[in-house]
């Protein structure tokens, strides 16, 4: 089972990123970039499939030279090959231009499955995966939360996320392209032997020109405007650490004014929660 995973470097979401409106880009800070979390999930899934069925996992990215760093992380997690298509302007391209280059590169690689992240957390276009599938003529299922490969390796049964917790189950022949939702799995932390192996690997480079594509966006960037600032809850020392964490993870101090709050004895509450989950078809 040969799998190609498309990954992208994105600005570290915890940094207060400053956008350079003139250049349509973020201002670069020290170690400001991480793997797009959706792509990391896609890679983890690819490695798990490889561990079960054998084969090779290739990661591929289109971006600046420094993106070699995230490719190396992919090798740590379990990719066998890493390919960088260097481009200093790709960050400003639209989804089609990116997919166009990537699909040409993928078409040269053996692939039974192509995996992408559902979207990138910087631009959030959620389109590159689908366009690649279109250009390669592959079936595509997006926002996959469960991926089962048939024992004969000829088809895949996938579960995709719909609105409000609903799930759709689909079956697709292989080769196919899937885009991974964050709920698909929990990416692993690499072992030290894997890290050491990855540090010794070479990152292959592929020239955009050699792919024979006319690279460039179809659409044109005009401007970015800022929304009005949002009020953010700040934890104070008057609260206990436990409360602070609760508030931070809860997203704010205000109590939710929803009718969905269930109260009562623990076993009653538990029953209501299970009923609710069943009704909304969270429990399959």
């Amino acid at each position: 089972m040969n799998i190609v995973v498309c990954v992208k470097e994105v600005p570290n979401p915890t940094f207060p990123v400053e956008v350079d409106i003139q250049k349509n880009a973020v201002k670069s800070e020290e170690w400001n970039y991480v793997i797009n979390p959706y792509d990391e999930v896609a890679l983890e899934e690819a490695v798990r499939i490889k561990e079960k069925f054998g084969g090779q996992v290739t990661v591929i990215t289109l971006g600046a030279e420094r993106a070699g760093a995230i490719l190396r992380k992919c090798l740590c997690i379990g990719a066998d090959r890493a390919i960088l298509i260097p481009s200093d302007s790709a960050f400003a391209w639209d989804g089609f231009a990116i997919a166009n280059v990537l699909s040409k590169a993928i078409s040269r690689l053996p692939h039974d499955i192509v995996l992408c992240g559902y979207q990138s957390i910087d631009r959030g276009g959620a389109e590159v995966g689908s366009i690649i599938a279109e250009l390669l003529g592959l079936p595509v299922v997006t926002a996959v939360v469960k991926l089962d490969i048939a024992p004969d390796g000829k088809s895949a049964t996938v579960c995709r996320r719909l609105e409000r917790g609903a799930r759709a189950v689909k079956r697709s022949p292989l080769p196919a392209l899937f885009t991974a939702d964050l709920m698909l799995n929990e990416p692993r932390y690499p072992t030290l032997p894997c890290i050491k192996w990855a540090l010794k690997q070479e990152i292959e480079k592929l020239d955009v020109k050699s792919l024979g594509v006319e690279a460039g966006p179809l659409t044109e960037f005009v401007t970015i405007s800022r929304p009005p600032p949002k009020k953010v809850f700040i934890p104070t020392g008057a609260l206990s650490p436990a409360e602070r964490i609760k508030l931070l993870t809860g997203g704010g101090a205000a109590k939710k004014s929803s009718s969905n709050i269930v109260e009562g004895a623990p076993h009653e509450v538990a029953k209501k929660v299970v009923d609710f989950l069943a009704e909304k078809r969270f429990l399959l």
């Binding site: 570290n12 979401p13 915890t14 940094f15 207060p16 800070e29 170690w31 991480v34 929990e186 692993r188 932390y189 690499p190 072992t191 030290l192 032997p193 890290i195 050491k196 934890p235 104070t236 020392g237 206990s240 650490p241 436990a242």
Partner: protein, 685 residues
């Protein structure tokens, strides 16, 4: 006639004893060699460095233990003070210490007597006349002391049954064997005295009090019977004594501790207490996942354990009802070593961590070092536990999701939270504090640490420290957004690789800025810079803020507090300050400078302090299943002395205690303060 005793009196073929003794010694050597082979399953490690120092402290320990015994030292020193003679000598509790002393001294004297008899018989005939009588009375009485000691131990083990002792058959066997060997000795002596001294020179007899009593009992028998019994019992005593030694040797009975424990003390670690071993990142295996991954000395540790249970009694995790028991960790590893030594297969019969010690146990440890402080034979628990964590993290990637987030955040943001490194210096805004890179005209750095940089409660400590340093005219700077995690918790949780990346990066930045001196309010950072960074080329003068404040106060650079406090105060000694670095006088000096501060010490203070539960990366993991929170147990100790103010000197202790106090709804009754805050509050400004 001159008092004396004929060796081999009434005995034929007595010299056969030497043949038997030679055989028994052979057996001992063989048994010992078998054990050496087990220890050699481990990796090499140099523990014969500083031979002079090792020898000297070994002899000090031997003399102190042998002649005075540690227990008696404790009587001469204030409770809770580390003694100065030898770093690792630990006082013991009175009862078991006293009983052990009686047995040790008694058997030691009997052995010495046999040796002196031998010398006197074959070389210098000095055991005659008054010397003989004196010798006789001393040796005889020590034998009686040994018997009393054994009885005391039996009462303790089988009558009192303290929880820290687990009784195994070998314990009873050892005690009974000692008793039988000594008692038969007295019986032999009794028959001899009844047949000789009582008849010919009755006034010598009481000089052997033990034998004398028995001799009086035997004295009615006729000479023929006495001689026969004497001869018989002589051989019985001889074979039992030698048999005991042979049996003990072959069964690897606990009595081997007589040899192995002192050995272990000799080879003990001379490294600073807070320095963990360095993982060879170029190697193949990292940490300890099987017994062969430990070093020979770590395996020797396992055999040196006397199962005394002091570590178990001292362990905060055990006290809180967690699965971890440091004594059991050592004994489990010992079982693993024995099994691996026998096993012919290359893979372990049972997995050392998951099937023997237990994963939960490995993660429960706060690395507080209370176990090592309590262990009388210098066993190193913390390093073993960290080695097993290293295997779980670096080789198997088996750890909790919280730790995964913790590592990821540190890798991506340089702090344990998903917070931006850019905002790291925000707490200092408006305080007029220098930042490295902007104005680097100082070689003194105030290391703020992750907690103070982002947690508002802990930031207040940093604000108090910087204000007092400014008022004392200390020229310092902070790193601001250049600062990253120091790596203490990362290393103690087993992630040596990430730790090394942090160390290399931090040392590079510190050196680039010509930093010579580091001041920190965090005992964990203090330990990292003092004991761990030097191994990687980062040598700095390191000061904890308690030391700095005490020093500045004594020099008069800091204003002496004016405002009367008029409150009961207790101090919680952080493990990494008190137990790791012997810093417990400095905070007390600071408190003493505050007028009308009523200091009450907790039940466990100074180097016996009870951990807050946050060290060893525990604060970043979820509370493990079972038992209470460690901080809950600590708060019970605090509540017992009814303080108005609870003072500490560590951001971890502060977080854990602050949380616990709130959890129990005591925030109005007990105020939790850092020593720097306490000082600033009493300035009356």
């Amino acid at each position: 006639m001159v008092p004396g005793r004929e060796v081999y009196w009434n005995i034929q073929y007595g010299q056969f004893l030497y043949v038997l003794a030679a055989i028994v010694i052979g057996i001992m050597v063989f048994a010992f060699y078998r054990r050496v082979r087990l220890w050699r399953l481990g990796r090499p490690e140099n523990r014969v460095d500083h031979l002079g120092k090792r020898l000297r402290s070994f002899l000090v320990a031997a003399v102190v233990d042998g002649l005075f015994h540690r227990k008696f030292l404790e009587m001469f020193r204030g409770v809770g003070h580390r003694q100065t003679t030898s770093d690792d000598l630990k006082p013991r509790d009175f009862y078991p210490g006293f009983a052990h002393f009686l047995i040790f001294a008694g058997l030691g004297m009997l052995l010495l007597a046999t040796f002196l008899d031998f010398i006197s018989h074959y070389f210098f005939h000095f055991l005659t006349g008054g010397v003989y009588l004196a010798f006789s009375v001393v040796v005889d009485s020590f034998g009686i002391l040994a018997i009393i000691g054994v009885v005391l131990v039996i009462i303790r083990r089988y009558g009192q049954r303290p929880t820290r002792l687990d009784n195994r058959p070998e314990d009873l066997v050892a005690l009974v064997l000692i008793l039988v060997a000594v008692l038969t000795g007295y019986v032999v002596e009794g028959f001899r005295i009844a047949a000789t001294e009582l008849v010919r020179t009755p006034d010598w007899a009481p000089w052997s009090p033990g034998g004398y009593v028995l001799a009086r009992a035997f004295s009615g028998l006729n000479m023929e019977t006495l001689l026969g019994w004497h001869r018989g019992m002589w051989w019985v005593h001889l074979s039992i004594s030698l048999g005991v030694v042979a049996y003990v040797a072959l069964s690897w009975n606990r009595l081997w501790h007589i040899i192995v424990s002192p050995m272990n003390y000799f080879f003990r670690s001379l490294a600073p207490r807070g320095a963990l071993s360095i993982v060879d990142l170029d190697g193949e295996r990292f940490g300890a996942g099987r017994i062969q991954d430990f070093t020979w000395k770590q395996l020797l540790d396992l055999d040196a354990c006397t199962r005394c249970g002091r570590c178990q009694e001292a362990c905060p995790a055990y006290a809180a009802g967690k699965p971890l028991n440091p004594k059991k960790v050592i004994l489990d590893l010992k079982d693993q070593m024995v099994e691996e030594g026998k096993s012919k297969t290359p893979t372990p019969v049972r997995d050392m961590i998951t099937e023997r010690v237990g994963e939960e146990e490995v993660w429960d440890c706060t690395t507080c070092r209370a176990c090592q402080e309590a262990c009388p034979v210098a066993i190193e628990h913390v390093q073993k536990i960290v080695d097993m964590r290293r295997d779980l993290v670096l080789m198997r990637v088996k750890f909790s999701t919280e730790l995964k987030g913790f590592y990821k955040n540190i890798e991506e943001n340089g702090n344990p939270w998903a917070k931006s490194p850019v905002s790291r210096g925000n707490w200092a805004e408006g305080l007029g504090i220098k930042k490295l890179g902007q104005d680097t005209a100082t070689d003194t750095l105030y290391w703020v640490g992750c907690l103070a940089a982002y947690d508002e409660r802990i930031s207040r400590i940093a604000i108090a420290v910087s204000k007092l340093m400014k008022s004392a005219g200390v020229d310092f700077a902070i790193m601001g957004k250049e600062e990253r995690c120091c790596g203490d918790a990362v290393r103690r949780s087993g992630n040596e690789y990430l730790f090394r990346k942090l160390v290399d990066r931090n040392i590079e930045v510190l050196k680039k800025n010509n930093i010579k001196r580091i001041i920190t309010h965090c005992p964990h950072g203090y330990n990292a810079f003092k004991n761990e960074y030097p191994k990687f080329g980062g040598d700095f003068e390191v000061l904890h803020h308690t030391q700095l404040i005490a020093d500045l106060l004594s020099k008069g650079a800091l204003k002496a507090p004016q405002k009367e406090l008029d409150k009961r105060v207790t101090f919680h000694d952080p493990c990494y300050l008190a137990r790791y670095h012997d810093i417990y006088d400095a905070p007390r000096q600071v408190m003493a400078s505050i007028p009308k501060l009523d200091l009450v010490e907790k039940f466990q203070c100074k180097e016996k302090t009870f951990c807050c539960g946050g060290g060893g990366a525990r604060m970043w993991m979820a509370e493990s299943g079972g038992g209470r929170r460690i901080s809950e147990v600590l708060l019970d100790q605090v509540k017992a002395v009814k303080p108005d103010v609870l003072v500490t000197a560590c951001p971890y202790c502060m977080t854990m205690l602050d949380n616990e106090v709130r959890e129990k709804g005591l925030e109005t009754a007990i105020q939790v303060l850092d020593i720097a805050e306490l000082y600033r509050n009493s300035l009356g400004e």
